[in-house]
Each structure stands twice: as structure tokens, then as C-alpha cells.
Assembly symmetry: C2
Homo-oligomer: 391 residues x 2
């Protein structure tokens, strides 16, 4: 078998990890031919002649079959990936932001050029969610995908739950432990999770929906009171990305919300930096996939798996289609909304109120809300409100 | 696209479920052309003209591309599947016993005839373990697979644990609830689990090992005392199938043993009829796959997935090889062995004893045992002994 030649963009922890594995496992027949980096002054643990700062050293090299893109900057990544696909090179990427923003174009380019474009590492690290949705749950009557897809927020929520820490303190611990970035907004506002959910929705339901259309409430306005409430009820609070269809098989909503889950349930047991996704189908009931969602090794593992799949000629087939569409939000769900008792909360957003409570400091309402009214009433932007979904 | 024509063997709960789904989902382009059954006197919920009692009505029909084999009798199934493969028909089967007993021949026949032979439903129902091992964990440094692969015994063990029931009573409850068969020996003696582990070992490690070589201790001699002990230590007892490699990548042992697992761990949380499998790899750490292990819908789901995969030309590639080999047992592990205090247990099987205890009725030893000595000292056959592995 001809050796596979790879061009690597980025030599951070994941890039270096992959280089090390491929170099030490010569029997795999995969050579890293060139590594493009931004900063040529850094010391690197690989032969100097492999490195370049010129993207075209890879993109113009016809002997390179596969580009592995592992850089942070989503715009630069898009330029690289686009050019690579146009030149008939296959691409493995872990860049969820780039994929979420340019999914349609990238799929089109990969199809036009007959090449593979694989990105398992972009969603839930080593958890093989895309491959499973794509390959396995094709024929089955898949009706929902929901889960914890962001390790940073899950780490923070665990700290808030277990140690009664307010958000700011828990964030600080996460940052100090390397589980949250110095600018955590993509994570804590649920944006990262909505990128991933958009990618999942395409492979699960065949619908290509912009991340901006996904209903999203982050974790920044959750209050210790909410965690006390959850504990009393035997629940944890997790940031859950959810997509589900109605009885006709139509997508009802795509959302990322803080959500009550039973502490004893699979998602309730998904702690700290772990990810867990539940695939619901009419026939198989629920499948749970669980593992590390991010970090050097889990991401490397997913990238290596894609490289290996490419060697066997694997392409995503998008068997459920690639239907570009606007999200038609028809779902109505049960929510808990809490706020400072003096805050003038307008409860008319609820179509039904089941419980309302006013205590010494904090108040809450529980009832039904039509998802589309969350936008209309601006509940998702209001930082004075804690919103927790009952899924 | 040309319609796919299927010949179905067996019209039990799974067969009928699949017939119903394929018939109601015409857009899938899959027709059930013929159904071969044993008993033609039973009333069936499908048009009479579809049924036959003659296997050759399917096997001789050149228009049928795919045989879906769903009958209980492993010998009859083997005759059918063998003939189908020889005639160039692809086969989907859920028959783990048949596969475990004839795996090599069946793989060879499917290769010689260039057809697919798929059997996801044979291992852990709807949990896509074979597909994941085959497709996803190829390049990664996979070093262990262990899990709960038999729902009947898991149900019984949960009853023994939760309700302090002795084995016989728990078995009776499982039988009454439909979770154990009237002759439960294949399940409770761990034979079913060893069939599955053998199949897993081929896809995980590329080694084709006879089920008889798998070290196996069932659950029949577990005693309520053992569950009390486990509880005190925050552990559950599960029947765990395990295969793992040593640092050189060589398979150390394949075993099915009652095993202590932390109650809070993924396997500890796998209750009743559920199955859960952990795939351990150097890079991705641990992946956990969880779902319903058997029953009408989970099995149907896996069979449908295989049918769908076949439509897309899917074949197992056995990328890790098909190396027929004898198991070279080199592992040494920690075990708990308990027995009636008057039983003359020969503790020389232990290479190290860490604890020994004698109480009013029951005694136990905990220490290291070389796996191969379990056979030499006949510990696996001795029904007077409870043996629980610390994994």
C-alpha cells in the first residue's frame, strides 16, 4: 500500500500528539510530510526541515493527499481548508467554529472535488458521535439527540453544584485548572455548544441550520439558589444541547439550555470535563455515548480515527440529506425561571404557570413556555434571569 | 436506486418488527420478498403469500440480495447462512452462538464470495459496539474492552444486590419478568457473554479465539454474603466480560467473571437489562457505550442498521486482522474468593494473599491469582466457591 502523506497545520498539543503517534507507528503507513506553523521561533520536538510558515508549502505540494487542520483561528482555518478542498486534497479538521460557520460551502467543495472532509474531533472530542449518527442510526427512527457537549461549562456546573460556589468563583477554579479559557464567553454563553449542536443536527436530521438560530441560554446567570432547588429535587443542572423531532418527524427545536437532569441518570453522572450524548430512537430506545470531550488525547484520538477512516476511503455521505432551512420552532416545554424577588419579571411569557414561589431573596416560576416566546420575550438575553429547562 | 430484496428467516418478535418497519417505510426502498418460518400453522400479521417453510424459496431466488437470519437454532442457522454466502448472498445475523462457533468459516465464505456478513445485533443489542470497534478505534491504541454484555444476568445481579435475594429467587423473578429464559444456563454460566466477548475480541484485537478458551465463571454460586461485602465497600457485583492487552500490545487474557465495580462508575450504573461497554485506549482514555442489550426493539434496531449499512455496500474489513490463535494467558489479577467456612478451600491458588477472613458462616480470601491457575486449580468449575474479580 502506498504511504499516505499528510500536511499538518498547527503544532500545538494535538498536532504534536498526532505527529508523535504517526512517527512512532510506522506500520500505519502514514507520513507527516510538512508542518505549517505561525511562530517559527518556538522550539519544536520534531526535525526542523519539516516545518514551514508558508501554507502553500502544503497546499501546492501535489504529493500531499490529506490536510490535517488544527489551528485556533477559524478564519485562517477556513481559508486553508477551502483552498485544500479546491485543490483536491482531503481534509480532517477539529475546528467547530469554522465548520459551523461555513458548513454548506465546505460540504459543497468536498463533493465537487470528490474528496473527504471529516471532523469527528470538532464535536465531543473522542466520543464518536458524528460517525455513529452518520453510519449507524441511519435506518432507525431517530427522534432526538441531547447531551452535554461542552466540558468547560460542565466542569463549572459541577463545582457550583458540589461546592455551592457562585458562578464567578467556579469559573475561576475552572480557569486555574485549565478547563476554561481566559476569555470563556464562547463556552459559558453556550455558543460552542450551539456550534456543535448545529453539526449534530445535520448528521442526525439532515438539516443545515445556522448556529444563530439555535435557542441558547448560557450558564452565567445561574444562581446558587437554583442549585439548592435542584438538589432538593434530586436533580443536577447541566448545560444540555437538544434537538428533537415531533411525531411527524419534523424538527421541533434546537436548543442549548441549562437543564434539570436526575442525578442518577446518565447525564447526571456525566461530571467535570466529560461529555455524554443520548441518541433517542423509536426502536433502540436510548443509546448513551460517553467519554472525554476535549483535551490533547481525546482530540488526537478523534483526529487519528478520521485519518484512518480517510485511508480506507471514508466520506460522510449525509444520508439524511443536506437541507438548508430556517428553524421552525414549534416546541413548547416546561421551564423554571428564577430571579431576585424585587426584579419585575413579566410572567406572561408562560402559557401555563404550574408553580410560583417568592422567598426572602429569590423568586421562581415553573410552567410551560413556547420556545419561540423565549425569543419574543427576550428571556434568553436577560442576565437577571436564571432559566432551567425540564427536558 | 434499485429496490433491495430481502429474504427473512424467522418471524418472531424481531422478524415481525423488522417486517413492520420496512413495510411502513417504503421510501427506504427495501422489500421483504419472502419469509421462511418453521411452523406454518401459526397466524401471522403479514400476507400469507410471503411465507414459506422451504429455505430454498429464499436461497434459490436470485433476485434476493440479502438474507436476514433471525432464528434461534444455531445449527439450522449455520446451514442457512453458509448456503446463502456460498450463493453470493449477503447475510445479516443476530445469532451469536452460531457466529462464535463458526466465525472463521463464515468470514472466509463471505470473503471468497465478495459479500457482506454483518452481525451487530449479535452483540449487545442496539449498542453499536462492533461497528465502533471496527470503524472507529482502528488507529488509536486500543488496549482494553470490558463491559456488561448480558442483560439477563445483569437483571439477576441487580435483584440480588438491591433486594438481598439469593440467586434462586432472583432468577425466578427474572424469568417471570421475561428477562431470563426457562433454561437460563447459557446466560447464568457466562456462556452467552463469552460468545460475545469472542466476537468483540476479533474486532478489537484481530484475534480469533474459540469461546471455550475464554476464562469463565458464571453467577450461580454468588452468595448474599458477597453482596453484603460489596455494599460495605461501595461496590456492585457485575458479570464483566474483559479483554485487554499488555504494554507490548499482546492480549493477556479474555475472561467473563463476576467483578466488583464502583457503584458510582458507568458500569456500576448499568442496571437491569441494560448493557454497557467501556473501550479503553491510550489516547482517548475511556469511551463508554450504553443502551438496551436485548429484546425486540433494540435487536431490531441493530438489524435494521446492518441492513442499511449493506445497502451502502458496507463490509467488515477486519482491519486488525483475523489471526486464528490459542489464547496465551499471561495475566495475573486480584480476586475475592468466598466459601462456606467449613469448605476445605485450597488457598495455594493465590500467588499472594492480601486478606483472609473467617466469620460465623462464611470465609473469604483476597489476593493475587494468575489467570491460568484458575483453570489449573479448577476454581472456575467449583460451585462451592464465589469468585469475584477486582478489575
Amino acid at each position: 500500500m502506498k504511504k499516505l502523506k499528510i500536511g499538518l497545520f498547527g503544532f500545538g498539543v494535538v498536532g504534536e500528539g498526532i505527529y508523535n503517534v504517526l512517527t512512532s507507528k510506522q506500520h500505519l503507513g502514514i507520513d507527516v510530510a510538512k508542518i505549517v506553523i505561525k511562530d517559527e521561533t518556538k522550539t519544536r520536538n520534531a526535525p526542523t526541515e519539516l516545518f514551514s510558515t508558508q501554507a502553500y508549502d502544503i497546499l501546492n505540494d501535489d504529493s500531499i493527499d490529506l490536510v490535517v487542520e488544527l489551528i485556533d483561528d477559524a478564519d485562517a482555518a477556513f481559508a486553508i481548508v477551502q483552498t485544500a478542498l479546491k485543490r483536491g486534497k482531503s481534509v480532517v479538521s477539529a475546528n467547530k467554529k469554522m465548520i459551523a460557520e461555513h458548513h454548506e460551502v465546505l460540504i459543497q467543495l468536498s463533493r465537487e472535488n470528490g474528496v473527504s472532509f471529516l471532523y469527528e474531533a470538532a464535536v465531543c472530542g473522542s466520543v464518536p458521535i458524528i460517525r455513529n449518527l452518520e453510519e449507524y442510526f441511519d435506518n432507525d427512527l431517530l427522534n432526538s439527540v441531547h447531551g452535554i457537549v461542552n466540558g468547560s461549562t460542565n466542569f463549572i456546573l459541577c463545582k457550583m453544584y458540589e461546592e455551592n460556589q457562585p458562578y464567578d468563583e467556579a469559573l475561576k477554579v475552572a480557569q486555574e485548572s485549565g478547563f476554561a479559557e481566559s476569555d470563556p464567553s464562547l463556552d459559558v454563553e453556550g455558543i460552542d455548544a450551539s456550534f456543535k449542536l448545529g453539526i449534530i443536527a445535520l448528521h442526525a436530521f439532515g438539516q443545515l441550520i445556522k448556529a444563530e438560530q439555535i435557542l441558547r441560554k448560557g450558564i452565567t446567570s445561574l444562581h446558587p439558589f437554583d442549585f439548592e432547588y435542584a438538589k432538593e429535587k434530586g436533580q443536577a443542572i447541566k448545560l444540555v444541547a437538544n434537538g428533537n423531532t415531533n411525531e411527524k418527524g419534523e424538527l421541533e427545536s434546537l436548543s442549548v439550555f441549562p437543564t434539570f437532569v436526575k442525578t442518577s441518570s446518565p447525564l447526571g453522572q456525566t461530571s467535570n470535563e466529560y461529555n455524554g450524548v443520548i441518541i433517542g430512537s423509536t426502536l433502540a430506545d436510548e443509546q448513551f455515548l460517553y467519554g472525554k470531550g476535549a483535551g490533547r488525547y481525546p482530540t488526537s484520538s478523534a483526529v487519528l480515527s478520521d485519518i484512518s477512516a480517510f485511508k480506507y476511503g471514508y466520506k460522510y455521505e449525509y444520508k439524511k440529506g443536506v437541507h438548508k432551512t430556517d428553524l421552525n420552532i414549534t416546541k413548547s416545554g416546561l421551564f423554571y425561571v428564577s430571579f431576585d424577588k424585587i426584579y419585575p419579571f413579566d410572567s406572561s411569557v408562560f402559557s401555563e404557570i404550574h408553580q410560583s414561589y417568592i422567598g426572602e431573596e429569590r423568586a421562581y416560576c415553573i410552567g410551560k413556555i413556547e420556545h419561540k416566546n423565549l425569543i419574543k420575550h427576550r428571556l434568553l438575553d436577560d442576565l437577571n434571569l436564571s432559566l432551567v429547562s425540564y427536558n
